[in-house]
């Protein structure tokens, strides 16, 4: 089996160049975007909850709990939220790639064009 991506065949325009419009259907693009917005909304709710929620608005209430020697609210404000931030970005990168492949709008085959 040839390792060449199919797009090099002349009769099959690449899905990864200016022919995008012909290959990616209108419906795929819209569905992809909707799925993306849903994922973004979920992750941003978590982002807001750990930082503005646990670290600022609820900090005094959470401080009644102890977590590894910290007051819980204080821990979120100075440690926890930052760990969650890092996780959120990697979760987004991972989930959105699955969604992209599902709708055929991924950029998987683009490395060799550089």
């Amino acid at each position: 089996m040839s390792q060449q991506p199919y797009r090099h065949a002349a009769e099959n325009p690449s899905p990864h160049d200016h022919n995008d419009k012909k290959n990616i259907t209108e419906k795929n693009a819209t569905d992809y975007w909707r799925a993306n917005l849903r994922l973004l909304a979920t992750l941003l709710v978590v982002w807001f909850t750990v930082s503005f929620g646990c670290g600022i608005l609820l900090v005094d209430w959470l401080d009644q709990f102890t977590f590894f020697g910290f007051k819980l609210g204080f821990w979120f404000a100075q440690q926890g939220a930052i760990y969650v931030f890092v996780a959120l970005i990697f979760i987004y990168a991972w989930r959105i790639q699955i969604i992209e492949r599902q709708f055929g709008v991924d950029d998987d085959a683009e490395e060799e064009s550089l």
Binding site: S51, G55, I56, Q78, Y92, A93, V105
Partner: protein, 563 residues
């Protein structure tokens, strides 16, 4: 070997490394100069972004600020990291798909308007110069304390090094030197942090030591002890805040949205090969940043505790060695008010010890009695943090001048070769201006940090995000929005920081929001105005709506970019 000699050796070796990298990675085209050719590996770019982001303020000042602010200091921790989530989710992938060279490029094209581009350039230059002034001062501080040269000489040496790699190498040179600088700075930050954590808690991981018990057999935790000690001295408890919740909320939001709108950070995501790399790269960047940002609050608490322990009620005769070392720089002062030759430290008027927050990190190795090479390492780390950020800022200033002002607006006829020459000249001029700021620091440097984040949050961030997520926002809306956010934020800060500083307190602030946090309100204003004005004027032309459709789809970035 003396500490002095070691410091010369470490700082000298790091400079040689940076210049070596600069020569190896000279820029040959405008694409090399602006976006490092567009082929940077996401992990490498993540590391470069981390060094770009972590400035003299993060390395030298942040732990000190938290040390004296306690829980209120979390505005910086949350604000300066949370912005990366927004960057990775809402900005970086789309800007990468757009695939041009600068942030004003995006605003100019998306809003089909030279005016919008110029407004963006003005914001960018203002924000970046504010920021760069602080970096050069950081270089000056490090040089004067550790190398015992004049601040002027220090700044000039720093300028010469930045000149070498920013002017020759452009983004390409900067990217690879920043990778080296990240390694130097994180190593330099962690080594003393680990030692001081072991000294105070017996736990080598500062993030865990932070919550652990003090290693004196008393069984109470670091934070409990700190609370008790500080309350005894008349300060507020370390783990409780003194700012109002609304102000903490607004400052954190302004710093977060500002971070996500800072041009020197955004432009780093133009350098990776494809859209998925931009997302991963932001993740790596924040992971590399988080190593320092989760260590800083631990260092802050250890240092404050140690400070009280070693200084308070100690006779001046027996003051620790670091105390007299730093007295020479004027960053530590002792005034024997009650003439008992003993140093008293407290929150009241009888306090005799004044400590500049900047020394918390710089004096850490001495406070923890670490060997000379660690002190030398911290000096090299401080310089690396300041230079890496300065270079990133100078690059966005020069590319916005050569690309957005000259090529795209005033002199569209210039060739690529001329544009590259102008970029280098602009970088050289910017280095000189930054150097002047370092040698003659304007008295208002500390005051204007609020400007950099506030203005980025109120102008650039909303304009970019709305441009990506709404097809309906048109040029009238975007320009009106940016200007209203910008002007509102600018005058609010100007009023409280410069016109009537005596009124700068919670009683007079609007809604109880300090000038540091007002950028958040400016951002909401920007969004509101942009929506209303866009509704009242015609929608953007079809080709702009197509552009928005196009940047939403990840595929095709590499091909579009190579044209």
């Amino acid at each position: 070997m003396s500490t002095q000699l070691l410091t010369y050796l470490f700082v000298g070796a790091s400079f040689a490394l940076y210049i070596g990298i600069a020569i190896w990675s000279r820029a040959g085209s405008t694409k090399d100069f602006y976006v490092a050719g567009g082929g940077v590996n996401p992990v490498v770019n993540g590391m470069a972004t981390a060094a770009d982001w972590m400035s003299a303020a993060s390395f030298i000042s942040m732990a000190g600020i938290i040390s004296f602010m306690g829980r209120d200091g979390s505005v910086y921790l949350l604000g300066w990291t949370g912005g990366y989530v927004l960057l990775a989710l809402l900005l970086a992938p789309y800007l990468r798909k757009f695939g041009r060279f600068t942030v004003p490029d995006f605003i100019g094209e998306r809003y089909y308007s030279k005016t919008a581009r110029i407004v963006a350039v003005i914001c960018l230059i203002f924000v970046s110069f504010t920021y760069v002034a602080g970096q050069m001062r950081g270089v000056g501080i490090v040089f004067s304390r550790f190398l015992e040269v004049d601040v002027e000489t220090g700044v000039i040496i720093g300028m010469a090094v930045v000149f070498m790699y920013a002017v020759l190498g452009g983004m390409k040179g900067i990217t690879y030197t920043q990778v080296a600088q990240y390694c130097v700075l994180i190593f330099a930050y962690m080594v003393p942090a680990i030692f001081i954590s072991i000294m105070i808690t017996g736990n080598p991981i500062p993030q865990l030591g932070f919550g652990a018990e003090v290693a004196d057999g008393s069984g109470i935790s670091v934070l409990e002890k700190l609370d008790t000690v500080l309350i005894d001295l008349g300060f507020g408890a370390y783990t409780e805040g003194s700012k109002s919740t609304i102000d903490v909320f607004a400052i954190t939001a302004a710093l977060m949205f500002g971070t996500a709108g800072l041009p020197h950070v955004l432009v780093r995501f133009f350098t990776v090969p494809k859209v998925s790399d931009a997302r991963k790269s932001a993740g790596y960047a924040l992971a590399f940043i988080a190593i320092l940002y989760t260590t800083a609050p631990a260092v802050a608490s250890f240092a404050r505790l140690n400070l009280v322990d070693t200084v308070h009620n100690t006779s001046y005769e027996q003051a620790p060695q670091w105390f007299s070392n730093w007295e020479n720089t004027g960053l530590v002062e002792w005034q024997d008010k009650n003439n008992d030759a003993v140093m008293q430290y407290s929150a009241g008027i009888d306090n005799e010890v004044t400590i500049d927050r900047d020394i918390i990190v710089l004096a850490n190795p001495e406070i923890a009695d670490l060997p000379g090479w660690v002190i030398a390492l911290v000096a090299a780390g401080g310089v690396a943090a300041a230079l890496s950020t300065a270079a990133g800022l100078l690059l966005v200033i020069s590319s916005s001048v050569s690309h957005d002002l000259l090529k795209q607006t005033l002199m569209p006829a210039i060739t690529e070769k001329q544009e590259l020459l102008f970029a280098r000249i602009a970088a050289a001029v910017a280095v000189c201006i930054a150097g002047l700021f370092g040698i003659y620091p304007p008295a208002f440097v500390a005051q204007v940090v609020a400007f950099a984040f506030g203005l980025a949050a109120a102008s650039l961030f909303p304009a970019i995000v709305m441009g990506i997520f709404s097809k309906r926002i048109n040029k009238q809306g975007a320009i009106a929005g940016m200007l209203s956010g910008l002007i509102f934020t600018f005058f609010y800060i100007l009023y409280f920081k410069f016109v009537s500083p005596q009124l700068n307190n919670a009683e007079h602030w609007w809604l109880g929001i300090s000038p540091e946090g007002i950028g958040f309100i400016g951002m909401l204003l920007n969004i509101g105005v942009a929506f209303v004005v866009s509704r009242l004027s015609p929608p953007p032309p079809a080709e702009v709506q197509d552009l928005v459709d196009d940047i939403c789809i990840p595929s095709g970035a590499a091909v579009a970019h190579s044209h």
